[in-house]
């Protein structure tokens, strides 16, 4: 696994975009993308949590699960660690920086059920990334998530002012907008260094 860090980052952010190509975190992608401001806040919170979660998951995997031959337990361990971690991050922010907490607070609990977090942790194990590579891949994925959700929110703010055929209002038009974005992101597939 001699992939350069830049390539890992770009793969996560653009080529293999977590939402549009891998379909992880669709629930919040469709649910929270009503306006740009909230989407951007959620995006920042996701970058924060995935960054920490992929670091912790990588350490746990390398120093606890693998030495004791417990790799088959990784799903259980990761989901519990992520749930606990989100809570710890929330409490930590509440005490240390109320400003950030106020901006991110309501989005943090949403992230536990965001399958992108667990997905990144599991992908990192599958790809046999080391600690640094895991963190970079996690951050890349989270940046990709943020790009996708902010772009979709921008589209939805425009769409709201248009007169749509009735059957397409609500979920269908959001899914179709996501389809066009997904086609655009497929174009990154040729990118390599």
């Amino acid at each position: 696994m001699e992939t350069s860090l830049l390539m890992i980052f770009l793969t996560g952010a653009l080529i293999n975009n977590v939402v549009l190509i891998q379909f992880l975190g669709i629930c919040s992608f469709l649910g929270v993308s009503k306006n740009i401001k909230n989407s951007a806040s959620l995006g920042v919170a996701v970058i924060f949590v995935i960054g920490i979660a992929s670091a912790v998951a990588s350490l746990l995997n390398d120093y606890i699960l693998v030495p004791f031959h417990l790799e088959y337990m990784n799903t259980i361990v990761f989901i519990l660690v992520i749930a606990a971690l989100v809570q710890v991050v929330e409490m930590f922010l509440k005490k240390t920086s109320p400003v950030i907490y106020k901006a991110l607070g309501i989005y943090l609990p949403l992230i536990t059920t965001n399958c992108a977090v667990l997905g990144v942790a599991l992908t990192n194990v599958q790809e046999e990334y080391n600690f640094i590579q895991s963190v970079v891949s996690g951050l890349g994925t989270a940046v990709g998530y943020t790009i996708a959700i902010v772009l979709l929110a921008g589209l939805r703010e425009r769409i709201n002012e248009n007169d749509l055929p009735k059957p397409f209002r609500g979920a269908p038009i959001v899914l179709l907008s996501a389809m066009l974005m997904s086609i655009a992101f497929s174009g990154f597939a040729g990118l390599s260094f």
Partner: protein, 227 residues
């Protein structure tokens, strides 16, 4: 017996998790590149859902209310690991094509959603049938979407070529963008026929509600765990 049949009807038609509630969208979009993948994903989720509903319902008076969500997560994650290992051993081909989406059944909102909304309030038999109904509803939706994408995208149905050579397959339907397209159009068609779906049931209530309830659950769960 009526109550049990009603549960199955409820899961398949009235509250179909995919079309009506818009829960579990990640696997719905990701694995429906072919009908057989839809069957595999649907049945694995069905198995986890039946046993998680059953176990949670049996243990509903034993698990203290404050720590119920972490307990549910452990039960679900254990069942998913069992399914994961079984599929790895007996259906390696399917396991390879579903990949990471098998362990991700843990974070499928349908499962925790049913545990919280139904299984922890009802008797084991009812919960079991609720699991069967919801699981079947999910499976049917996945198979239908998978079949459409396979026929249009590859000209095949369950791996058999059914379209003549003169009809070129539209490859993009089988790739990532096709998933959004097929589900979006499917919901629009159901809307046009004014069948109750997530979209015309108050602005997107299903997905939002599901995420909100899941997240508030996880919120309280964490707080309780922290105490």
């Amino acid at each position: 017996m009526n109550g049990y049949l009603e549960r199955i009807y409820n899961g398949v038609v009235k509250e179909n998790p995919t079309i009506v509630l818009m829960l579990g969208m990640c696997p719905t979009l990701a694995v429906t590149t072919s009908a057989i993948n839809g069957v595999g994903m649907g049945l694995s989720t069905l198995a986890v859902l039946i046993f998680s509903n059953l176990i949670i319902s049996i243990m509903r008076n034993i698990i203290p209310d404050e720590v119920r969500l972490p307990a549910y997560i452990v039960i679900v994650a254990t069942l998913v690991t069992i399914v994961d290992l079984i599929m790895q051993a007996y259906t390696p081909g399917l396991y390879a094509s579903l990949g990471i989406y098998i362990p991700l059944i843990v974070v499928n909102c349908i499962i925790l959603g049913r545990a919280e909304a139904y299984a922890n309030k009802h008797t084991p038999m009812l919960a079991l049938f609720d699991g069967i109904g919801m699981g079947l509803g999910f499976t049917i939706a996945l198979v239908v979407i998978g079949a459409v994408r396979e026929i249009v995208g590859a000209g095949k149905f369950f791996g058999m070529t059914i379209l003549p050579e003169s009809v070129p397959p539209i490859a993009i339907i089988a790739r990532a963008p096709g998933a959004f397209l097929v589900i979006g159009v499917l919901i629009a068609v159901l809307n046009a026929l004014s069948i109750k779906t997530a979209a015309n049931k108050k602005v997107n209530g299903g997905c939002d509600g599901a995420c909100a309830s899941c997240s508030s659950d996880c919120d309280s769960n964490g707080e309780e765990a922290a105490k």
